[in-house]
């Protein structure tokens, strides 16, 4: 897998090149006595379209400009240049940082961001501008997802080059952080990937040795999967050729956690390769609630409203399973959780439910396509 190592190093150089060219562009304009401007694709709702080819959201033709001549733009422009410089330093020195760091380190330059959201938005600007994700700039959000399973990875982070680790080495699982996402895949016996919405069930699966029973890599999403986790799942699928199965709670929100792993989010429409279009939502389906006679709670107003929204969402037009399950939810007006299987004993979900769901036929290629909607 030497190829991967080159890929990681190459990507790092590409990022640095993009940042430098961004800086050089501003420098040139300033040096010629002009107010620097930049243009980037617009991220407004009307410019976000669903692309059936890549099976994810992408940005349209509409562009927006940021000009330092405009008094309202100059501060965000400066902040953007700062974030670029900050990323440049991190990437050059091969260090990592969090979104929170960006927020605080800007204060040293007397251009305080009003809040975390403002600095996050600027990082998204930089992503849009360069086409790289913030993780490529070595800026990471807080970690909360983990992986467990028989996979040897080789580190590329400074100080660990040449070292490898097996991802079953720690019984709590291994945090999916910068060191894992930037690693090379060396060897695996796994045949599938199972992404699980909740940490509690992830732990149960490890205890019940699901990884060896089913030759699986287990991933805990920790709710809505972070972007780097989504991107990592994509790598597992693309580079190792592993099918991906997703287990979530049986409610509209769980369903959508699976959908974002599969089709991506509107918020990340300016980025590529964060989604895994071939991943499969295995459950818990609304029809499972009926079939397995699971304990339930009623769907409330907000749940039902969310269902109606999702029904129209173009991402839900790709596989008939979505529309079918939405209709069942609307009919039974009940929801359930992964833990609900405990009514049949603690191992039921591993011994009975999981094998049944994994045996389902892999998804057929999408037939219908639709247009944009927000995530």
């Amino acid at each position: 897998m030497e190829q991967r190592k080159n890929k990681v190093a190459e990507r790092r150089l590409d990022v640095l090149k993009a940042l430098k060219s961004f800086g050089a562009n501003i420098y040139k304009q300033l040096d010629e006595g002009n107010f620097p401007t930049v243009t980037m694709p617009s991220r407004s709702t009307e410019n976000i379209n669903y692309d059936p080819v890549t099976r994810q959201y992408i940005l349209g033709e509409k562009a927006v400009g940021r000009s330092t001549r405009n008094i309202r733009h100059i501060k965000p422009f400066t902040q953007l240049a700062f974030v670029a410089l900050f990323s440049n330093e991190l990437t050059t020195q091969r260090k990592t940082s969090t979104l929170r760091d960006v927020y605080y380190s800007s204060q040293a330059y007397e251009m305080t961001f009003q809040d975390q959201q403002e600095s996050n938005n600027l990082i998204t600007d930089l992503e849009t501008l360069t086409g790289f994700a913030r993780e490529d700039f070595s800026i990471f959000p807080e970690e909360r997802s983990a992986i467990f399973g028989d996979l040897d990875i080789g580190y590329t982070v400074p100080g660990y080059e040449g070292k490898s680790v097996n991802l079953t080495s720690h019984p709590d699982g291994v945090l999916i952080g910068p060191a894992v996402t930037s690693s090379e895949f060396q060897r695996t016996s796994a045949k599938i990937v199972i992404a699980i919405e909740k940490g509690a069930l992830f732990t149960r699966f490890i205890e019940e040795r699901v990884h060896s029973k089913h030759d699986a890599l287990l991933i805990s999403c920790g709710g809505q999967a972070p972007r780097q986790t989504r991107s990592f799942i994509r790598r597992l699928h693309d580079e190792l050729g592993l099918p991906v199965f997703i287990l979530t709670d049986g409610d509209p929100w769980g369903m959508h956690i699976a959908q974002v792993i599969i089709s991506g989010s509107a918020n990340a429409a300016h980025l590529r390769e964060l989604n895994t279009p071939d991943a499969i939502w295995s459950g818990v389906w609304a029809s499972d609630i009926v079939d397995y006679k699971l304990p339930t709670d009623p769907l409330d107003e907000v749940d039902l409203k969310r269902l109606t929204e999702l029904q129209k969402d173009p991402r839900y037009q790709t596989d008939p399973v979505w529309q079918r399950e939405i209709k069942v939810f609307q009919k039974i007006k009940r929801k359930t959780e992964l833990e609900a299987f405990s009514r049949y004993g603690l191992t039921y979900i591993v011994d009975e439910y999981l094998p049944a769901k994994l045996d389902q036929k892999p998804k057929e290629p999408p037939k219908k396509t639709g247009k944009k909607t927000q995530e």
Binding site: G23, G33, A81
Partner: protein
């Protein structure tokens, strides 16, 4: 049933019994009024000769009187025109005797205030007043006087004549009175401050009982022209006045009579008016019947085409002096003044002058600071009853983008031959439509100018802010991009920064 007894009451006796109406209602108010009346007499005495006033006031502690009051000695010195010796006893020892019963603008109106203060001093301490005065001739006269209250006559206790080597002119009065200075102090200091504001050509010095010195120095020696005496305006006469004029006139025709004795009435106006009133032009005024006099009076009020009174009998401060005075006492960031054209109410001419000051030493309160003046005297009490207060409160300030929270002072000066006070205490102006209209118009004018100032100020502020934003961020962008691009030399952004000023507010 006992028989009612009737006795005549002298003027001084009347005011002795009703001294509240002159403002001498309590120990703290009385000491304030005594100082005020003395200072105003002194200012009038100097202004009548166009002498820049130098007034020295000293209040000194004499003795404890009651639990709340003390005996003070008040001494007021001026450099005014002085009083001729034969008038001195009556001027200070006889109520309702004065030099101000003429139709021209003066501070006092009744010849009452100064004497009331002396009278008050006498009844509370039973001490004589001492008056020293000279008109600048070779002698100085010094009197010790008391008032015979029941007979309203001065009692001369002592009289001295001194040689006036230095041609000094002016008046010094000194008398004792009971009062409560500590409680009166804030008003007294405020009185001096505001008097200095509206008399920028005066030097005022006040030494208080604790020996503290308050000095208000003149900012100019320019003075307004003293008012001229004038004839009554036709709108302002009553039957009694007509009869008196008929009694003294030497004219033998009505046309002549009107031209001779009335303000701004000439041949043409007189003829037209007599035609309007259906009175024969050549009729001898002394032969008018009582009914004809009443009809004459009524028609004088009805006739619309009399010229308005001219302002020669008034002595407004003028825009320049008002500016100087407000500047001197408030040192505002911006000041506008406006003088209205003369107007009349009931035949009495009056002029409204208005100033509006922003920032500087204008006290910051939740509401506008209002300084009210009438014939150059500050009005310190009963602000909310004054017509000016209502005019200011009723103004649609939003229209002028002015809000009461701003540090704004409004100065209202009304001068008139007869200031329309509502009470003898001379503290607030009554709400007459003519006065209200003039004040409202003056206020609109200064408000408009303040609005322009505020708009300009905001514009400048925005421009500065813009510039500071560009000068804050452009260098940072230059620094960041230099490092990012891997360059060593920073781009020159001076030209860009300069050009920012030219962009004006197009992106605001």
């Amino acid at each position: 049933m006992s028989a009612a007894t009737f006795e005549e009451m002298s003027a001084s006796d009347f005011f002795y019994r009703n001294r509240d109406i002159a403002g001498l209602s309590n120990p703290s108010r009385s000491i304030f009024v005594a100082i005020r009346e003395a200072v105003e007499n002194s200012l009038d005495a100097a202004e009548s000769e166009k002498i820049p006033p130098d007034i020295y006031v000293r209040l000194s502690f004499e003795a404890e009187a009651t639990q709340d009051t003390q005996v003070y000695k008040l001494r007021v010195e001026d450099n005014g025109c002085g009083i001729q010796p034969r008038f001195i006893p009556s001027a200070f020892g006889q109520v309702l005797y004065g030099s101000k019963y003429k139709l021209k603008q003066a501070r006092g109106t009744f010849g009452l205030g100064g004497k009331m203060a002396v009278l008050y001093g006498q009844i509370t301490t039973h001490q004589p007043v001492s008056v020293t005065s000279s008109t600048g001739q070779e002698k100085i006269y010094s009197f010790k006087l008391m008032i015979d209250i029941q007979r309203n006559k001065p009692i001369i206790l002592d009289r001295k004549v001194l040689i006036n080597k230095d041609n000094w002119h002016g008046t010094i009065i000194e008398f004792t009175l009971e009062g409560d200075y500590l409680r009166a102090m804030p008003k007294i200091i405020e009185y001096f401050k505001q008097t200095a504001m509206v008399n920028p050509y005066a030097n005022l010095t006040f030494v208080d009982p604790k020996g503290r010195l308050y000095k208000f120095t003149r900012a100019t020696t320019a003075m307004p022209d003293p008012p001229k005496e004038t004839m009554p305006h036709p709108y302002g006469v009553d039957v009694e006045l007509l009869q008196r004029l008929i009694l003294i006139t030497e004219c033998t025709t009505m046309t002549g009579f009107l031209r001779q004795h009335f303000h701004r009435v000439g041949e043409v106006t007189a003829t037209k008016f007599l035609d309007f009133a259906k009175i024969q032009a050549n009729k001898n005024p002394k032969k008018l019947t009582h009914e004809e006099i009443v009809r004459l009076m009524q028609n004088l009020k009805k006739y619309k085409d009399f010229l308005p009174p001219d302002a020669s009998c008034l002595s407004p401060l003028g825009e320049e002096l008002l500016k100087a005075g407000v500047m001197k006492e408030l040192n505002p960031e911006y000041l506008v003044v406006h003088q209205r054209k003369p107007s009349t109410y009931e035949g009495h001419p009056f002029i409204v002058e208005m100033a509006m000051a922003y920032g500087g030493n204008v006290p910051k309160r939740d509401n506008f600071v209002i300084y009210r003046f009438a014939n150059k005297i500050p009005l310190l009490y009963d602000e909310a009853s004054d017509v000016a207060y209502r005019v200011i409160s009723n103004m649609n300030w939003k229209r002028y983008k002015v809000s009461p929270e701003m540090p704004i002072a409004i100065v209202v000066h009304i001068c008139s031959t007869k200031v329309p006070y509502k009470t003898v205490g001379k503290e607030f102006i009554s709400d007459r439509p003519e006065v209200r209209r003039e004040e409202a118009n003056a206020l609109r004018e200064v408000a408009r100018q303040i609005q322009h100032f505020l708009a300009r100020k905001e514009h400048v502020h925005n421009e500065k802010k813009r510039l500071s934003i560009f000068s804050k961020y452009l260098p940072k962008i230059a620094e960041f991009s230099t490092t990012l691009a891997g360059e060593t030399r920073k781009p020159d952004i001076e030209k860009l920064l300069k050009s920012v000023q030219k962009y004006g507010t197009e992106e605001e």
